[in-house]
Symmetry: C2
Subunit: 356 residues, 2 copies
């Protein structure tokens, strides 16, 4: 007997399956499957019957169960994307670009933030593997070479982005970090700056090491004696405090630099905040150049000169390369270079050509 309370119990609407359609039409499940997959030829479905099946499917508002499909087919049409922090605008924009292309190709994306942490990265990879993702796009954290290598060994499609791992034979979408910084600092030098500081993240990751190498080399090649006090390596975990300390040191009268390059977005935002607090005027008191764009630059009184990495292209290229690997299982590993460009505004001390 139904009790009164049963009447108010939320009855979960059962999902419609092929079976329901088959029952209603009075045919086998197979016939319904063939029809709804447009394999009427292959399944030799009669014209009338196909029409009826389609109609009933519509009536019942049938939607295929993707999980069941995945189990049968072995692919999930899902990719995993692991970045350091999805709330960091640089990664958020890449993520968004990936989401858009992926969706347009019928893929769904699962994002994860590793917080530059080896264990979190490993956990995320495991979870996503358990969920049978068809492939990965990863901005690898320091020390995760083995994790990536293991994916490669298991023949799971992977593309790494932003941070090359020279030790691992894996497809990658990266920019020429050395060249980009070299060019940026050369720009500062050409404008007459001599004492040039640099804030970078303290990591062994290749992209950051290349940025530092670019910095050191360009100074050397311009005959500027490199002072190691000018290069400040800050910890990711304590970025705010470390940047504050670094800016204070670099601006102290005894070693005061003419200019500072920020090696990332986040460094720049923290640094510029401190520069505001110290009441230093850009470009008069201090010239600034940044790596990566930020919406935030729009709020700075002095239009910022920066190295622009095309994040859209990053995302699109990464997905295309991954897609190729997924579709086609003997794809060769390849490294795709994305060209960055120097966007010149006034923060380095010169009026950009466009504004003259």
């Amino acid at each position: 007997m139904r009790s009164v309370s049963d009447l108010f119990k939320p009855t979960v609407k059962k999902k419609v399956s092929l079976k329901d359609i088959a029952n209603k039409v009075g045919v086998s499940i197979a016939l319904v499957s063939y029809t709804l997959n447009n394999k009427e030829k292959e399944g030799r479905v009669g014209k009338e019957m196909a029409k009826k099946i389609r109609q009933v499917a519509k009536e019942l508002q049938y939607r295929p169960n993707h999980i069941a499909k995945s189990l049968k087919s072995g692919n999930t049409q899902t990719i995993g994307v692991i970045v350091a922090d999805i709330s960091n605008p640089f990664f958020a924009h890449i993520a968004r670009a990936i989401e858009d292309v992926a969706n347009s190709k019928g893929y769904t994306v699962i994002f994860g933030s590793s917080d530059e942490n080896i264990e979190k990265s490993s956990d995320l990879i495991k979870v996503l593997q358990d969920r049978q993702v068809d492939g990965f796009i990863i901005a690898p954290s320091e020390g995760t070479e083995a994790q990536i290598q293991s994916l490669v060994d298991s023949n799971i499609p992977v593309v790494i982005i932003d941070r090359p791992l020279p030790a691992v034979p894996v497809s990658a979408v990266v920019t020429d970090n050395y060249q980009a910084v070299y060019g940026a600092i050369q720009h500062l030098i050409d404008l007459g700056n001599k004492k040039i500081g640099m804030l970078a993240i303290d990591t062994q990751l290749n992209h950051m090491k290349e940025r530092m190498r670019g910095y050191e080399e360009v100074l050397k090649n311009n005959g500027i004696a490199y002072d190691e006090k000018w290069l400040k390596k800050v910890k990711y975990e304590t970025i705010k405090e470390d940047v504050n300390a670094a800016i204070e040191e670099l601006s102290r009268s005894n070693i005061a630099v003419d200019a500072i390059m920020f090696a990332t977005n986040t460094l720049a935002i923290n640094g510029l905040r401190k520069i505001n607090q110290l009441n230093l005027k850009v470009p008069d008191d201090l010239r600034i150049i940044c790596f990566d764009e930020s919406e935030a630059f729009g709020l700075f009184y002095c239009p910022m000169t920066y190295v622009r990495q095309p994040v859209q292209e990053f995302g699109h290229t990464a997905f295309s390369m991954l897609f190729e690997q997924i579709e086609n299982d003997d794809t060769q590993m390849k490294e795709q270079m994305i060209k960055s460009e120097l966007v010149v505004h006034r923060s380095c001390g010169a009026v950009p050509k466009a504004e003259i």
Copy 2:
């Protein structure tokens, strides 16, 4: 015979299943399943046998196939999160907060960006439903009431965030937008500002209407004649151009306002950029107050006064409420208010207490 090329063909390492373990140990699949799920009692697995099974599972590096589990159990331990744009820092931070709690509870999150577009929203919901997500957290776009209602009707767990839908009986995590703006503008008035402009998004969404209502009411209650030219509604799709035009108008000498409130993050960033370009000085020429925090404010020379919504709490509360619905299928709908606070700095013309 194996050809030479076979040797180089990437052999996809087959995944190990319960069957593989069962075969190797020489028992039935069921026994392995019971053991690895710690249901040895229920499955009456012998001690010795359990030990052996576990050992072989480890040897073969068995990892359960989540897809198969989902198909059997009917739940995917996955939730769908739909926001307007994941690359917008406000949503990116909420997303990150959701990701963190969700992961800690064993849930995986799939994000999607609706771009404030009804069709995209509908498509996303469909895709996620097809993928059998256990529930949704949605920041609904304008005109998506029917979509949300349909989820509710189908008894699918949903929590909406940020934007209340008064017409739909659904659980929600929101802030008191009316009160927040009322307080913010009152603050401006208390500091002597009379002609106060407002930039808002042109939408029928309740959160924005409430913000506008707060603006109008507080002016009225303070005996300030409300001039409709002061309230600028800009289109989401053409936000940059519209904001530029709005700022220009509001600062034109004949109607020049004393102060401007920005009703969102993105409006603020675009507006402040324009204000920089026009060389207007904050707070001397113009006072500013914003809704929502932004990293970017750190780059503005004048520390910004803004209404802070605790995004972490937003994410955490939303997930908790969703989790409750998922676990417990006769949960009552409920609306959770999150308290916002006014963070006072100097952009409204006064020195904040903390700095005196």
